[in-house]
Symmetry: C2
């Protein structure tokens, strides 16, 4: 489908057929449209209307549509279909889709599904369910095409034509030894491009293979996909035996998840593992309260430092009115820099060794911003304040503004790199912690300057 | 390559060959390893050492390696090779790689390159360079496989075998009419799986086509890749004529860029278009200063509201020492909620219509967090403060803390959705603006409570 409008028209058409109970026409449309759209439509109507439509679909369509359902829809459907239908679905789903589904389901449903799977499928699913959550093993699939090096091009094409009912897996073929060790890789296009049908596969296969081990971190593997511009990656066990492949569509999800996790950490939250709307209030509290508590304690320290300046504040309460502006600008300046550095470290655009280049750049940026904001405030205070010492106060505020911005941007640049050097996640040094740190510095600078320059009032 | 260690070993081996000036062995290794690794190695050594190695490579390897270079390396190489070599490279590079390269180069280099391109290539490159920066036209490539509906399966396989020297493009074939209108799509595996070689392509092709128009936004198109789990997408012009395809490896880059842009906007920066280390200080200032200025002005408003409580502050300066803690916790609570909602809206996990569900969840979370933090502070203040009215002060601080957290989390939940409803980017309502908004509310609540409960001291 090209655009939203087409999707809306489609939905209206299906709705009107549904009102007429014209299931034959609905089936015809469903078989035509992409599975993702069919699944979306079925999820939007009630289960008693969706079920007869779902059952009327061809077997292949059924399974494809099912794999696009949200986990909770899958659960509802599994609870409503016969054991035989469950068995059909689980045997035909690719292993990674089956595992994704089972990971989200309550134990009773998992039991019911596995009971209806063949012994082989059950073994495979159990093996895949056992890979650690963040490992590449947890996202790989077992449906790949393996060839023998002793096959000829002609034999290979014949073999591939006989098995090519699964689109994602025949385009890159893996050559394995009798003991299933990964020996080589060949693209289907290179097999097809070979002009002599008697050429041995082992003579044209690539033997330098970009590959991963089942226990590799899935984010590292995602990085390999962008570095090598590949669409499939073989996964081997510790004995170099081929156990599965990862396809790029699963990697797209990993990249999205990774960005979400980074963003959550940068806002001082531990990442949620389940969708927000389905996560209980207590789990959300748990994921958020620890950082809030740490930062609150940091805030009380800031407060107690501020307490040391109580006399200054009592004497010149006007000073307090400039605090939010200076502190906020400092915090925002610092979080701009730290965000740039954290994201750069994540995408690999910046390295720890760039620290001096980054710091020098941030210092120049901060001096320009600091001078502009300092001057602006100097004249603003001269214009609108009625205090007899307004020139001195303007000077204190402007200087504090300049220094705070320079300190904030320098800390924002340096702290994420320091965190990385200390093997911490640089995202820890995002806006919240930077803001608190900058608050303390800004306060010391501001009241320090006030004590020096306005001492005659104190 | 599997891991870092292998890459380090490889580099050492190449370094030792280079020290011996054994170019034959280097060439042998280079031809074996993935192009991305070869390009990385050449970028790490000086140009006078890299150039002879680069020139010794086979023509295909040369072009592949060149396409993996960073733009500045490409520029150096183009300046050092002959016109004939330039012509070879530009003719063989895929159009999207050529366009990506030229977009990053100074005009003189672009001229030099285009001068050495054939008339056809030049025309195509110029056409692609003209698509708007964020459009799908700017990331598509022109190398795709088109078939005619009147071909038989046997003819199609023969045709594909004759042209299959380019891996990314033969696996999905597009069926076009004589006037180049897109009529259907077929996966190579479905052609291969067809048992009867005389079947017409038009009989087995898919006619419901997921496609994009050249001017579509590339982020929208990236969403289609995850929704439909596809690896290539045809791009048509306004007359439904096929003009190019987008492949999933380019989409991976779009998703990364999009996440970076979101993160930058959430930290109150306009996104940088060039890599940070290569962006001038003035450009960085320009991208950051506008939001800083807006937020600084907001900070002065906060300050002037604070000014209204000068008398309260003078009378009980102790109150000031709790401000950082309450305001920081409020800001952090609010930005946690807004970050969750903004990211959910971006990934499509949350919809504007979920507003009440989100608000209700955030209110419950905030009441739990608020009560815990309120109680904690009540007893802490009782324990450590020496003020005669410490119970009342503890009450003011605890109540202000509870109310601030509830207000902050509610605003954090609602404002991004409100922004989206007003057709603004929800990312605008991220930490910085939420913090400033929450500051004002927190101040009014805190001093409002103080004025009420501590009025006997004022």
């Amino acid at each position: 489908m090209t655009n939203e409008q087409e999707l809306i028209d489609l939905k209206e058409k299906l709705d009107s057929y549904l009102a007429e109970r014209n299931y034959r026409k609905i089936k015809a449309v469903m078989e035509e449209i992409p599975e993702a759209d069919a699944a979306e439509y079925l999820e939007g109507i009630s289960i008693d209307k969706a079920m007869p439509i779902f059952r009327s679909l061809s077997k292949e369509k059924c399974i494809e549509v099912f794999s696009y359902f949200e986990p909770e829809t899958q659960e509802v459907f599994i609870n409503s279909i016969t054991d035989e239908e469950i068995s059909n679905i689980i045997e035909e789903l690719s292993v990674d889709d089956a595992v994704d589904m089972l990971e989200e389901m309550p134990a009773t449903i998992v039991k019911k599904v596995l009971k209806n799977a063949s012994a082989n499928t059950r073994k495979l699913i159990n093996q895949f369910l056992n890979y650690p959550e963040d490992s590449v093993g947890s996202i790989m699939t077992a449906e790949y095409t393996d060839l023998k090096g002793t096959m000829t091009v002609g034999e290979a094409i014949k073999y591939i034509r006989s098995i090519s009912d699964n689109r994602e897996t025949i385009y890159t073929c893996y050559i394995i030894s009798p003991s299933r060790q990964l020996e080589g890789v060949i693209e289907l296009c290179d097999i097809l491009a070979c002009e002599n049908d008697d050429t041995l596969i082992s003579d044209i296969m690539e033997t330098s293979i970009v590959k991963a081990v089942t226990t590799d971190d899935k984010e590292t593997v995602a990085g390999m996909f962008s570095k090598y511009d590949i669409t499939t990656l073989p996964v081997v066990d510790n004995e170099n035996r081929l156990v599965g492949i990862v396809t790029v569509d699963d990697i797209v999800d990993v990249i999205e998840e990774e960005a979400t996790k980074d963003i959550e950490q940068m806002a001082a939250m531990q990442p949620l593992e389940t969708p927000y709307l389905k996560t209980s209030v207590f789990t959300i509290v748990k994921k958020r309260i620890i950082w809030l508590l740490i930062l609150m304690i940091a805030g009380t320290i800031t407060g107690s430092i501020l307490g040391r300046f109580e006399d200054t504040i009592s004497a010149i309460p006007l000073l307090v009115t400039f605090m939010p502006m200076i502190f906020d600008t400092g915090g925002n300046s610092g979080s701009q820099s730290s965000t740039t550095v954290i994201r750069g470290l994540t995408t690999g655009e910046l390295e720890c060794s760039d620290i001096w280049k980054i710091l020098w750049k941030e210092i120049r940026v901060s001096v320009i911003v600091g001078f502009s904001f300092g001057l602006l405030n100097f004249f603003r205070i001269l214009l609108i304040t009625k205090d007899p010492d307004k020139i001195t106060i303007a000077l204190v505020v402007s200087l504090a503004m300049l220094l705070t911005i320079v300190i904030a941007k320098s800390l924002g640049a340096v702290l994420p790199i320091a965190a990385k050097r200390l093997k911490l996640d640089p995202a820890v040094m995002a806006a919240p912690l930077i803001t608190t740190t900058v608050d303390v510095c800004a306060m010391l600078v501001y009241f320090g300057l006030a004590l020096k320059l306005l001492s005659f009032r104190l």
